[in-house]
């Protein structure tokens, strides 16, 4: 019994609406849960002083600084590498068994647990390369962790750019690099920003890999060679060692608000850039 199209349309759209509502309810529940438990702990002292008494008192300033620097290092390394790899795989090589294997490898590595990335970072960056526990070791490890996602999302975004644009640009006397830089990448920007934002989200929220590489020292990092504790790791230690759940959720609340701010700013910038162009 085939429903008339009008009816299936109404039925399906309400189903999709229900799914979106459910997702938003879960999202709101998670945020309210954290903010309700965390907001009371937040005041200027909490944000701008060093932790005292194992984190049971004082503020979380060093973790704030680390939570900004670490994803920056990770993205500063993973974004150019990832985008260049994706451009190389889509624009500069023909679709072949090799490119399919690289894509498959990237997909599989996107599934490797972060603990194994942490151990690799610990043995390779911390011990063998003698970088010690530092934001640099952590940044490099996180860069490797988010690389597969950035490569794959950038590739999909580039493949979505209509071929006609490439032909027009080429026919106007542009080299392959010019075509890529002036037409392909600007049009693939939304996909690329999504990949980078997922990478930032993942590196801000990561704990296991970061503890083994960036370490968990509570001191304020003076340079990228110092070990430091991100807000996620701080929440991890406070909550799991049972030191203080108020401070733990206070940290989580600050973390959520900063991630939301970063997301909104990034999308604001991107949308302004797109509106100006097309």
């Amino acid at each position: 019994m085939r429903l008339p199209p009008r009816l299936t349309q109404a039925f399906v759209v309400s189903l999709l609406g229900l799914a979106t509502a459910a997702t938003l309810v879960i999202l709101v529940f998670v945020i309210v849960f954290i903010l309700r438990k965390g907001l009371p702990a937040i005041d200027s002292e909490f944000l701008f002083t060093k932790p005292q008494d194992m984190g049971r008192a004082g503020g979380i300033l060093p973790t704030l600084v680390a939570s900004v620097i670490l994803p920056l290092i990770a993205v500063a390394i993973a974004a150019p590498l990832g985008i260049s790899t994706a451009v190389y795989l889509t624009e500069y090589t023909r679709e072949s068994r090799v490119t399919r294997m690289i894509r498959f490898g990237a997909d599989c590595l996107a599934g490797i647990p972060s603990i194994l990335f942490g151990l690799f970072g610990f043995i390779f960056f911390v011990t063998i390369l003698r970088m010690g526990w530092s934001l640099l070791s952590g940044g490099l490890t996180l860069a490797l962790m988010i690389l597969p996602t950035i490569i794959r999302t950038t590739e999909e975004a580039i493949r979505a750019v209509p071929n006609a644009y490439r032909e027009v640009s080429t026919s106007l006397g542009a080299t392959r690099f010019r075509t890529t830089a002036k037409v392909v990448l600007p049009n693939a920007l939304p996909g690329i920003v999504t990949g980078i934002m997922l990478g930032v989200g993942r590196s801000i929220g990561e704990t296991a890999a970061v503890i083994f590489t960036a370490g968990s020292s509570l001191r304020m990092p003076a340079s990228i060679f110092d070990s430091s504790r991100t807000m996620s790791v701080h929440f991890y230690i406070l909550a799991r060692e049972g030191l203080s759940s108020e401070m733990a959720y206070g940290t989580a609340a600050v973390l959520i608000l900063s991630v939301l701010a970063v997301n909104l700013v990034a999308y604001g910038l991107m949308n302004r850039f797109i509106r100006r162009r097309s």
Partner: protein, 251 residues
């Protein structure tokens, strides 16, 4: 008789499929050459070989020689990028780049290194006037090009190619999907441009060829059947297949 393009036994292949079969012809400068023939006769493939746009296709291969002013464009010392600046192309479906009208027009010139704002402005005006589009867009150049109508977009693409000040202009069925007025506008522009450029117009609209082209070539199944002055081709074609096509008995 001076020659712009001299094509000698040109054959093209997409992987194993052969498009053109050992085609030879000469193209005179500063005239309009019309190319007619049924769909799939290799007209577009031929056009895209002249500015080496087929290089973008991974499994494309060309044999034979294509001389532009005596130099083989597939030869080692021809840089395809410079070639495309001399041989501009307008596509069948208008494809404005997702930028403003101004940025579409200065896209080509900027690639050649022209930075001076004043000079770019002149180029924009000259090419828009040549494409009979200047009056309609002169005060909204920052509008995104995608907002223009179909006819306007096609004339923008023509203007964009003219902005490169190429020597040859290739047109791949420029008026397919255009209303008669826009089509007339394009044909007017071509007649005007003939004096300064060599124009090769591919069209499956035989009347357009008869109206605009000086010489006409008839392609069929990847072969050049006949080439000659337009009146002769349309009134007294040598080959029976040309006659059948021109009189509309098939194709």
């Amino acid at each position: 008789m001076p020659v712009k393009f001299s094509i000698q036994r040109l054959s093209t292949y997409y992987g194993s499929v052969q498009a053109l079969r050992s085609l030879s012809m000469d193209v005179a400068p500063n005239r309009i050459l019309g190319i007619i023939g049924p769909a799939g006769s290799g007209k577009t493939s031929f056009l895209r070989t002249l500015n080496r746009l087929n290089d973008l296709l991974p499994d494309f291969r060309a044999e034979g020689r294509v001389l532009l002013d005596g130099v083989d464009i597939n030869g080692p010392d021809t840089d395809p990028v410079l070639l495309r600046r001399r041989v501009g192309m307008v596509f069948a479906m208008p494809v404005p780049l997702p930028m403003s009208i101004y940025e579409n027009l200065v896209y080509g010139p900027k690639l050649t290194g022209i930075r001076d704002y004043q000079r770019l402005g002149e180029i924009v005006e000259k090419s828009l006037r040549a494409a009979f589009l200047w009056d309609e867009v002169k005060d909204r150049l920052n509008l995104p090009a995608l907002r223009l109508s179909g006819g306007q977009q096609q004339r923008l693409c023509l203007a964009r190619t003219l902005a490169l000040s190429p020597e040859v202009i290739l047109l791949d069925e420029p008026s397919s999907g255009l209303d008669p007025i826009s089509t007339a506008r394009i044909e007017e522009a071509l007649a005007e441009l003939k004096s300064a450029y060599t124009i090769i117009l591919v069209t499956n609209n035989t009347k357009q060829a008869s109206r605009v082209a000086d010489e006409t070539a008839f392609f069929l199944m990847g072969e050049l059947i006949e080439i000659g002055p337009t009146e002769k081709i349309f009134t007294a074609p040598k080959d029976r297949r040309t006659e059948d096509y021109v009189t509309g008995r098939f194709g």
